[in-house]
Symmetry: C2
Subunit: 382 residues, 2 copies
């Protein structure tokens, strides 16, 4: 399958860059945020709604789709795109993070990962070769190598052993890669150890992948560790391939990572928050269930032009949330995803206009996290 990454413009004052990823299912602009469609559905939305929001690519979870309905079923039915009625790019993860999340239900050996299904307790064994087979069956546009995601904290010794094994698994995935199959991205591991991150990156880059992800973050480490890992890793990744920060993150995280040269993001935050009634707005994060919105006839965010803000009041959104109406999840998800997609649009425009740092500094978020990390960044001489 065709895969191409083109850098269109690089920021003069940071490592931010604007680019475009091309696949057989069309292209998408980077930096990009990919909503998560775990079980073959970006929760609560149709593909048409995703397109109206401006979503250009989504993520599917190999672990979940392998267990249910099964990759062979999806292959027989014409592949994941056809199955879920989404004809634009799909990136599939490898299941490494989900298997990690199973805790004591998994066992890692050199050969692969043994685990018990979270659905029915049945036993499974995934190898690097098997996850490639699954992702090929799904018809993914971008596949990820199988990796071991280690918990935080983990000892240097264990992270070292694990990272080396993840590199050997990456090699096995690469050897299984097919010309007419998905593009293949490797995953840098190494926990919060600088030299291990460097070694992981160097080893993988030497093998030659079509993109590189930074994995093993958002597993309980402090926020500053995420920032450290980005700074330790990215210098060892090629300029010319996409860099993907897996499972991250908040708007602040995304801004910070873009400044450091990251091109791809995925995260359940906007969609999960939406279902919990937590909404991103131009004036900060809000909880729609608060009593102050009970008779508030204004749109959620008066600066927003998403379907939700164009047609419904805060009072109605609060009512739907309190009434546990399905429409609550839908309207909130539309808004939060629009917020994220629009943030990425503004980021790309700022980079193109040569004013990304200005944009970065203009963004303020309710919890102040951005301003702190900001100071940190500056002290690192970016």
């Amino acid at each position: 399958m065709a895969f191409r990454f083109e850098i269109i413009q690089t920021d003069n004052f940071s490592q931010g860059r604007v680019g475009r990823v091309e696949t057989d299912h069309g292209s998408f602009a980077t930096p990009a945020f990919l909503p998560v469609g775990t079980q073959g559905s970006v929760k609560s939305l149709t593909p048409e709604e995703l397109m109206e929001i401006g979503v250009e690519a989504i993520l599917g979870n190999t672990y979940h789709l392998y267990l249910r309905p099964g990759h062979e079923v999806i292959r027989k039915l014409g592949g994941l795109h056809h199955f879920i009625h989404w004809d634009r790019p799909i990136l599939t993860d490898s299941g490494g993070f989900q298997i990690f999340s199973l805790g004591s239900l998994r066992k890692i050996t050199e050969e692969g990962a043994a685990f018990q299904s979270h659905l029915d307790g049945s036993s499974h064994f995934l190898t690097p070769e098997k996850v490639m087979e699954i992702q090929i069956a799904l018809g993914s546009d971008i596949a990820m190598v199988l990796d071991e995601c280690v918990p935080y904290p983990s000892s240097y010794e264990y992270v070292n052993i694990s990272m080396e094994r993840t590199s050997r698994w990456a090699k096995r995935c690469l050897e299984t890669k097919r010309e007419n199959g998905p593009a293949l991205f490797a995953i840098v591991q190494g926990g919060i150890y600088r030299d291990l991150r460097k070694k992981s990156a160097q080893t993988l880059v030497e093998m030659g992948f079509q993109g590189y992800a930074i994995g093993g973050l958002s597993v309980g480490e402090p926020k500053s560790s995420m920032q450290d890992v980005l700074e330790w890793t990215i210098p060892f990744l090629p300029i010319s391939t996409p860099r993907y920060l897996m499972g991250i993150g908040t708007p602040e995280d995304i801004l910070y990572a873009v400044m450091n040269g990251v091109d791809l993001f995925d995260c359940v935050l906007p969609t999960r928050n939406a279902r919990n009634g937590t909404l991103f707005t131009s004036f900060g994060k809000i909880s729609i269930k608060q009593a102050q919105y009970a008779e508030d006839g204004r749109p959620l965010d008066e600066t927003c032009i998403c379907y939700t803000c164009r047609n419904y009041s805060r009072a109605y959104l609060r009512h739907l949330y309190l009434s546990k109406e399905i429409l609550s999840s839908r309207l909130n998800t539309i808004h939060n995803l629009y917020y994220y997609i629009n943030l990425l649009i503004k980021i790309r425009e700022a980079i193109k206009a040569g004013r990304f740092l200005e944009f970065y500094h203009s963004q303020t978020f309710q919890d102040g996290a951005l301003r702190n990390s900001d100071t940190h960044l500056q002290s690192e001489g970016q």
Copy 2:
């Protein structure tokens, strides 16, 4: 508010008729099926989706909206149409049926109905005047009188007392009616007693309402009772006003009732069934969770052109249902409502074309209920 009912065509061989109801929020064709938007949302769908399906009018539940978010809040925010972003006709029930459903939590007196909220146990007292005030505040197009819905079975003595009180309540509602308020429909009660149904109908018709509903059905009585009640009641209702069979029913029920001259229907069946994975198709009712659909790439109903059938396979619908995805409720609801709306379209076309009985006989449903009731109907000389 304007309200007009026009009969466009009457069937030669049954009491079926095609008409049109006009309100300040536009008109709708009859016989009509109104989806239920209990809490200000037809569960899982947006107003745009309802319109795409062909829905022309919906029902709102006074009881639920009174309790949450409160009719005064809705009034302040511009009325129910604006609040829920639906600018077409809305019929509101009076809460009688919901209060009945509370069982021991309610107490009926001459003055009105005392009950405890199903939400928080708080005490409330609804009178005929109060339910009018609420429905006026909501800005409903068609309001219903407060009625007492008696359980099945109930003694002749109690049903008689209750029916007489319901008539007095109807009178009080009529006295509260405003020129610029909603149209007002009365509700015929009388349980399964022929003379009480007749008396109820005659008393209410004498008062002069803009429409008449047949209430107190679908409360546990046998199907034949519903059919009896229709036949006992409708001859005493005016030809020129709409007849509304509340809370009914299955496709078979609707066909039967249309044949007997009913114009309006509402029921949670298509929407609730959808969420439970039970789908109406041209080949009968099916349960989408069945294993036989696991690898079935065909649309749910190959003769259907709804959004769901145009874009998704049975296998995907089954997968979404088993995965408890919100999209499952959405796609199933779209299909089931489309089935109902389309059934009503076919009914109207059949009446207009002078072949309603032919159409009636051509309809077969999986459980055979229609064929049985059919026999019964014929023996009554229709």
